[in-house]
């Protein structure tokens, strides 16, 4: 670990910064939720930041990302603006979706982030199709599709993976396995050997990685995305992690023992990343600077988002469709 090369250290430091930004963005969102400023449900990814940083960090800006209901981290990692994201969570003008989508539909097409999704597993087939278009267009872009361990029990998991494999499409499937589907321990409702075994059964090479080890995720994703971009077809990454919060911002998560959560807290990705950086020579001040910068960014973003106005009611009728738009005939 202390034998890290300088380039590795810089890269790891960037992950450290990004993970703090994700953490602080979500802490801001949770604060907003408590204050009644964030509307609707939010699903924090606190404790899972290494998947976003390690996997999404390997995408080019013109690569494509599809995410889930728990997509803040992925979206920020893809390059979305934190203030625009908070505006979206607060339902304000200037939100990434103009305040019309909220947390569960956060998207920023300008950075290739084609959407969180309120329907578990729905993004898997959409991602396959996005990759299908890339192939038809003869481009060298890659699609990254992130979903939870609960999603592997929905039909679109089979249909989307089979599709991607049959058509040899440039897509990286990432199963962000936090052990739970809402209040249910996923293992109790999943038969067989799990995500990677299923992916292999659909003909997609799968890699298992410690999803709380950002270096490991980074290395695996870099390799897999390289293989995909070289024309190797789809790849699968199974990243094991743990969600430190409840399923939503208001879930006390009483369905799991405190000791389990405490144990997981010792293994959380930012701590572990800091440990490696420390042993590679970074000072406490440098590490603290990353945290502090992230906090400052999100505090400022929060205030700016909070100050932004709500969209007007006319937005209810905009961007529905061209033919027969409700701006012309609403009833």
């Amino acid at each position: 670990m202390s034998s890290l090369r300088n380039t590795d250290i810089a890269r790891l430091r960037a992950h450290h910064r990004l993970m703090w930004r994700i953490r602080k963005l979500e802490e801001a969102a949770l604060r907003g939720l408590k204050a009644g400023v964030v509307l609707g449900a939010i699903h924090p990814s606190i404790g899972q930041e290494a998947v976003a940083a390690g996997a999404v960090g390997n995408l080019r800006r013109d690569d494509i990302l599809l995410s889930t209901h728990r997509g803040h981290g992925h979206t920020l990692a893809k390059g979305a603006d934190s203030e625009a994201m908070l505006r979206e969570l607060f339902g304000r003008v200037g939100g990434t979706c103009g305040g019309k989508g909220g947390s569960m539909h956060i998207a920023d097409f300008s950075v290739g982030m084609l959407g969180a999704n309120g329907v578990v597993g729905a993004n898997i087939v959409i991602a396959a199709g996005s990759a299908h278009a890339i192939k038809l267009r003869g481009e060298d872009r890659v699609v990254c599709c992130i979903f939870g361990d609960g999603a592997i029990n929905r039909g679109p998991f089979l249909e989307g993976l089979n599709w991607a494999a049959v058509f040899k499409l440039p897509v990286l499937f990432v199963c962000e396995d936090n052990g739970f589907a809402a209040t249910t321990r996923t293992s109790t409702m999943t038969a067989g050997g799990g995500p990677a075994v299923r992916a292999e059964a659909f003909g997609i090479p799968a890699t298992l990685v410690d999803g709380n080890d950002v270096q490991a995720v980074d290395e695996a994703a870099a390799r897999l995305i390289g293989e995909i971009r070289a024309g190797g077809g789809p790849r699968f990454l199974h990243a094991k992690t743990y969600r430190l919060t409840g399923h939503t911002g208001v879930d006390p998560a009483a369905y799991r023992p405190a000791a389990e959560v405490e144990a997981a807290r010792m293994l959380e990705p930012i701590l572990r990343c800091a440990e490696v950086l420390r042993s590679a020579g970074l000072s406490e001040a440098e590490l603290e600077a990353d945290r502090g910068a992230a906090e400052a960014e999100m505090d400022i973003a929060y205030e700016a988002a909070f100050a932004a106005p709500y969209p007007g009611p006319e937005e209810a009728f905009r961007d529905v469709q061209d033919a027969g738009s409700p701006e012309e005939v609403a009833f």
């Binding site: 449900a41 989508g101 909220g102 329907v119 597993g121 029990n153 929905r154 249910t184 027969g324």
Partner: protein, 320 residues
């Protein structure tokens, strides 16, 4: 009489039916921890995890398995969490459950209750807010129930569980905490009998689900202006109480149908068309514009049918 919430009333109904009939069982995601709205809280303790069963995130399997289970001597209650997610299981409901009895020539019935919570619930946005009751009313073989009060939620859910048809049972998410009087003892409501919320001679108003309460509020304002509203809660969309509604419309000569769902192709169209076909009454509808439901409150509110809109609409209808 006991004061209960809409949620508790449904829970009581399910518990009573499960005590009565060992082959009644419920299945859905997270039911063991009470379900997403707590409407199953505590039931697993009484009935155990086989009868209050968790499920994988597999809406197609939840629905489809229950079709098979209903054809094999049990009476499943399917929990879909949000009606929006039931769109992952439409083949199972519409091509299988609804048609099995007919296409197999009456060899089997499919006694299935599909609970699909509907409606806007502050800032739940486009994929967690829909009201698609008119879809299921269009499908032969299905019964459609939309209870609006705790008392009805108890009596109708019990009736749905005993019904031998597949019943799409749509509770409104905003009504879960609503309190109301629930009669003690075993009460079942028949399907197809509307509830007269209030009597009035000037205009017939028809609604269902949460929107009934908005109509009642509007009716109060209209009463203050001297306009008497004959307000009906349809309770069930299929079968629906044509007799009561046509009689009322013929009497008042004016009918307005109010619902939360998109107006275009909503079930209000069926009622309005039927009234127009069978009476001389003037008809009109108030539903949502044909737009998805937005997240930001002003965007969401723009598609909400409010009491003041209903009042204004009724006034126009009476003067028009």
């Amino acid at each position: 009489m006991t004061i209960m919430t809409y949620s508790a009333a449904a829970k009581a109904a399910l518990a009573e039916e499960m005590r009565r009939d060992p082959y009644v069982w419920a299945v859905g995601e997270d039911l063991g921890r009470g379900g997403v709205f707590g409407q199953y809280a505590g039931l697993v303790e009484e009935f155990g995890p086989d009868r209050i069963s968790d499920a994988p995130i597999s809406e197609a399997a939840i629905m489809g398995a229950c079709v098979g289970a209903a054809m094999t001597g049990t009476r499943p209650v399917v929990e879909m969490r949000f009606s929006d997610f039931a769109l992952c299981a439409v083949d199972e409901l519409v091509n299988q459950a609804a048609k099995a009895r007919f296409m197999f020539g009456g060899q089997s019935k499919v006694p299935l209750v599909v609970r699909e919570p509907i409606g806007m619930w502050r800032s739940s946005a486009a994929q967690h807010s829909q009201s698609l009751e008119s879809w299921y009313a269009h499908i032969p073989g299905l019964v459609v129930v939309c209870p609006s009060t705790p008392a009805d939620n108890k009596a109708l859910l019990k009736a749905a569980i005993r019904c031998d048809d597949p019943v799409v049972y749509m509770e409104h998410k905003n009504l879960w905490p609503m309190e109301g009087e629930v009669p003690d003892g075993e009460i079942l409501l028949p399907f197809g009998k509307a509830r007269q919320v209030q009597q009035g001679g000037d205009i017939t108003m028809v609604s269902w689900s949460a929107q009934v309460h908005v109509c009642a509020e509007a009716a109060k304002s209209l009463a203050a202006e001297g306009i008497g509203v004959d307000l009906w809660d349809l309770r069930t969309l299929w079968p629906w109480d044509r007799e009561a509604i046509l009689t009322s419309a013929a009497k008042t000569g004016r009918a307005v149908i109010v619902h939360e769902a998109v107006q275009v192709g909503g079930f209000g169209a069926e009622i309005a068309a039927t009234i127009a076909e069978h009476t001389g009454a003037r008809v009109s509808r108030l539903g949502a514009p044909r737009a998805p439901i937005g997240y930001a409150p002003p965007v969401e509110n723009a598609v909400r049918v409010t009491a003041s809109q209903i009042v204004a609409h009724a006034r126009t209808a009476l003067n028009g």
